[in-house]
Structures are given as structure tokens and as C-alpha cells.
């Protein structure tokens, strides 16, 4: 039995390393694969935090569906690596400095300002299980759940329209050209 803290340290190392790998990879495919590993690590954190349903939703929705969509678009457009001609050379160092400042601020607020948080007690049996999530979701959050379905429908229609307009526009142009040459 590995102590929790060791498990946490290893997983945190993997999560941060894959995050940095995503940030620093020259190839967008490597970035996407690093991010998939990062999402899977976070899913294990969810399991440690007694949220098995959310953990599996994370693997299927984030690491599965969303990242496959990313990989699909990267390969479809063939934009694995952009030739980097930076127009603002001072921007990257400034961004890194601002990121470090953000991190220091967050660490200050979390570890010094907020004081000692109460240790988490043992949770009841079935906390975070699909039954528990479903009970709360379909009783207290029924309206937001239904609104989410409309949101997803709008997203589907939006994605189709954004990519369809290209083709119809090109067809019109081709037809106009045909008319013009005649």
C-alpha cells in the first residue's frame, strides 16, 4: 500500500511535466498527446478525491472526445509545426514573468492568507458514485441539465454552419465564374 502523499507526488509530477510538455513541444501532435496524458492524470486525481463518475467522464469526454477532435483538426489542416517568426520578441519573457507572478500570488493566497483548512473527513459510502451524481443532477439541477442539451445543439448547428458556408460560397463563386466565361 503506497502512502497517499507519495502517490500524490508522483501524479503531480506527471501532471506538471505533461503540462510543460504541452507548452514547450514544437509539434502540435506532441502537445495534444501530452495533454491527453495530463487529462488522464487529472482523472486519477478525481478518483483519489472520491469522484469516480467525474473521473470516468473526464476520460471519455476530455481525453477521448475533445482531444480526438483536436488531433483530427491538427492532422486535417496539416499545421503540426508553424515556422516561428515572432514579431514581438519581448512578449515571451514578459509572459513568463507574469506567469511566475501569478503563481506566487496564488501560492501566497492558498498557503499563507487562507490559513489552515480543516482536514477532510471520511465521506459517506457512495459519495460521487453515478447514483449520487444522478440524484442531485436530476432533482436540483434539472433545468440547467436541459439547458445544456440546448447548448450542445447550438454548438452542433454552429459548427456545421461555420464549416458549411465555405463550400456553398465556393460553389456560388464557381457558378458565377462559369456564367462569366460563358
Amino acid at each position: 500500500m503506497i502512502p497517499d502523499i507519495v502517490l500524490f507526488a508522483i501524479l503531480a509530477f506527471v501532471a506538471i511535466a505533461t503540462g510543460l510538455g504541452m507548452l514547450l513541444s514544437r509539434n502540435a501532435i506532441y502537445s495534444a498527446i501530452n495533454l491527453i496524458l495530463n487529462f488522464c492524470t487529472v482523472a486519477v486525481f478525481y478518483l483519489l478525491l472520491d469522484a469516480p463518475f467525474i473521473a470516468l467522464a473526464q476520460v471519455t469526454v476530455y481525453a477521448g472526445a475533445i482531444m480526438v477532435l483536436f488531433l483530427f483538426v491538427i492532422m486535417l489542416l496539416g499545421v503540426e509545426s508553424l515556422r516561428s517568426k515572432t514579431t514581438l520578441s519581448w512578449q515571451q519573457p514578459v509572459a513568463v514573468v507574469l506567469g511566475v507572478i501569478l503563481l506566487i500570488e496564488a501560492a501566497y493566497v492558498i498557503f499563507i492568507r487562507s490559513g489552515v483548512m480543516p482536514p477532510a473527513s471520511e465521506v459517506a459510502e457512495g459519495f460521487g458514485s453515478p447514483e449520487a451524481v444522478g440524484t442531485v443532477l436530476f432533482n436540483e439541477y434539472l433545468l440547467p441539465f436541459e439547458v445544456t442539451s440546448i447548448l450542445l445543439l447550438v454548438a452542433i448547428v454552429g459548427a456545421i454552419i461555420l464549416t458549411m458556408r465555405q463550400h456553398t460560397g465556393r460553389k456560388y463563386m464557381e457558378m458565377e465564374n462559369v456564367d462569366g466565361t460563358d
Binding site: D4, I5, F8, A15, I16, G19, M22, L23, A28, S31, L35, N38, V42, F45, L48, L49, D50, A51, F53, I54, A57, Q58, I66, L69, F70, L77, V79, L82, S84, K85, T87, L88, Q91, G99, L102, L103, I110, M117, P119, A120, S121, V123, F127, G128, V133, V136, Y141, P144, T148, L151, L152, V154, A155, G158, A159, I160, L162, T163, R165, Q166
Partner: protein
């Protein structure tokens, strides 16, 4: 059980990596992936506090964030494809005209 502060610290680190990624990368798809990383670190925070307070509400919120993220990714990637078709590039430095 690991103290909840450690999860908060990890979440802050992941959020910072995402924020720096948005600022320093020029590839629109990688910027998008950095935004996903930031959403994910916020989700980790929600689940950690749900565990601390033994409340299901945090986990439900993560569920909704995932749904919104999925919708956002679908529309955003469609936008990137449309921009690529007109500009032949997804370098954000080259996308500076409102006119296509």
C-alpha cells in the same frame, strides 16, 4: 488523504502553465489546448472542494463545465478551420484583419 492545500497548489501550477501557454504560443490550436488545461485545473479545484465540504454540488458543476467545454471546442475548432480556409494559416500573429 492528502491535505487539500496540495491540490490547490497543483491546480494553481496547472492554471499558470495554461495561462503562459496562451501568452507565448502562436499556434491557435495550442492556445486552445492551453485554455482546456486552465478549465481542467479549475475542475480539479471544484472536485477538491467538493471532497472537502462533502457536497455533490462541486462535482455537478464540473459536469456542466465539461459540457460547456465540449461545445466550446466544437465551435472553436470549426472557427479555426474556417480561418485556415481563408488565411491559409492559423498563426495568431497573422490573423489581424476583421475582413477575411
Amino acid at each position: 488523504m492528502v491535505p487539500i492545500e496540495y491540490y490547490l497548489g497543483l491546480s494553481a501550477i496547472l492554471f499558470t502553465i495554461g495561462a503562459v501557454g496562451v501568452l507565448i504560443r502562436r499556434n491557435a490550436i495550442i492556445i486552445f489546448m492551453s485554455v482546456e488545461l486552465m478549465l481542467n485545473s479549475a475542475n480539479l479545484l471544484f472536485v477538491a472542494f467538493a471532497r472537502l465540504h462533502e457536497s455533490m454540488n462541486g462535482q455537478i458543476f464540473v459536469f456542466f463545465v465539461m459540457a460547456v467545454a465540449a461545445a466550446e471546442v466544437a465551435v472553436g475548432l470549426a472557427l479555426i478551420v474556417a480561418i485556415f480556409h481563408t488565411k491559409r494559416s492559423i498563426d495568431v500573429d497573422e490573423i489581424h484583419l476583421l475582413k477575411g
